[in-house]
Subunit: 225 residues, 2 copies
DNA sequence: TCTTCGATGATGAGGATTTTCATGGGGGTA
DNA sequence: TACCCCCATGAAAATCCTCATCATCGAAGA
């Protein structure tokens, strides 16, 4: 599995290369857009990791050139915080997924694996249930048209619920997904987090979408009365 | 690689079994101490994961019985938060490592792999430099005999420094270890964390142990003047 | 060698988030 | 109906991150 990393920041580049190598991939690193383009066109890489902030030839141009040449390998791009436009632009230009810096390496690894496994499963960008909407790309939620601000944990929790609508999610499962944490019976972080999410998402609205199933967990769904 | 999980809490047990299976191990699960003892003695497991809080025959007894029978496979035990005595007891009874609930699954996986790879590399329990001491087991630090309370991040950071005394640690490396985070050039979390740690560990003491190397990172060592 | 300047790191304060804790409500079951 | 868990909830505390500003280092030039 050959992966090409195009990243000018030395630390990040080395970090990625080392991490991916340790994870069993073959990773090459180039530190500017021009080399990146050439390598990407010439080499037989199965995935590209592309920083958009490159001096000289930037990430967009590299991506454009590669797609224009008909190369179809999945591209994961790295963008700086809160640059919503960047993310949209990247996906429009033919990238397959993105990651916002700073990111956890485990997160990157997970995405790399997904992209390599399923080909190019561009992430579903908008999730919704009833009048609740979540734009994963813009990290923005709304209900009945009203913008809702979510914290990181709230967002993760809501995303989890929306991706698994109708499924009963056990606390332990939620804990493992949102906190990467094994369930410890005497903490109630999950309940508290649910509470906060409900306050923002359900309290002022009808119908309620988050439901408690005693002894089992929670579901997000539209309940007929 | 067969692993035996002895855990009565259903959620945790299922979670562990599933996670380990997905990670490529063969995991069997038993839900009480008696079965655990029998399985552990009879089956050809290469590693045991043992909850100490079992109803009936508890984790200690299981561990004792297994070691008494001469079985030498590594044992990783799970204990509840802040039960320092438990941890000490476990290691004394012949366990090889422990994990405090709640824990990240990735952490468990890392330890399982280490135990299986290196045989039984009982973790170094006490770290020290000059009059600074860190008891990894008890999660307790002291300098010049004075107890120092550390937060989770501070502890992780200090542990990292002590395990790598004399080595220059780049910010990016620190970030990846303590935050599992790729380095983002415009955050200064690392500096701030260093600051907090210094306040507790160096400010009121001599000699200073944390040193800054401009452009490179930080080292922990005793500096001759 | 001294001085200046740019860059890197240190520091303090503020704020937001997250967790813990204690208590109360409510549903299900005997 | 009464009891017992399980969950909800609010408040307080702790931790962590961001931001703005200040200090310091080291290089370069006089």
């Amino acid at each position: 599995m050959k992966i090409l990393i195009i990243e000018d920041e030395p630390r990040t580049g080395d970090y990625l290369k080392q991490g991916l190598t340790e994870a069993g991939f073959t990773a090459d690193l180039v530190r500017n857009g021009l080399d990146g383009m050439h390598e990407g066109l010439a080499g037989d890489y199965e995935l590209l990791i592309l920083d958009v902030n490159l001096p000289g030839l930037d990430g967009w141009q590299v991506l454009k050139a590669i797609r224009a040449a008909g190369r179809e390998m999945p591209v994961l791009f790295l963008t700086a915080r809160d640059q919503v436009e960047d993310r949209v632009k990247g996906l429009e230009l033919g990238a397959d997924d993105y990651l916002v810096k700073p990111f956890a390496f485990s997160e990157l690894l997970a995405r790399v694996r997904t992209l390599l496994r399923r080909g190019r499963p561009r992430e579903l960008e908008k999730l919704a249930l009833a009048d609740l909407e979540l734009d994963v790309l813009k990290r923005r939620a709304s209900r009945a048209g009203q913008r809702i601000d979510l914290t990181a944990k709230e967002f993760a929790l809501l995303e989890l619920f929306l991706r698994r609508q109708g499924e009963v999610l056990a606390r332990s499962f939620i804990a493992s997904q949102v906190w990467d944490m094994n369930f410890d019976s005497d903490t109630n972080v999950v309940e508290v987090a649910i509470r906060r999410l409900r306050a923002k998402v359900d309290d002022d609205f009808t119908p309620k979408l988050i439901h408690t199933l005693r002894g089992m967990g929670y579901v997000m769904e539209i309940r007929q009365a």
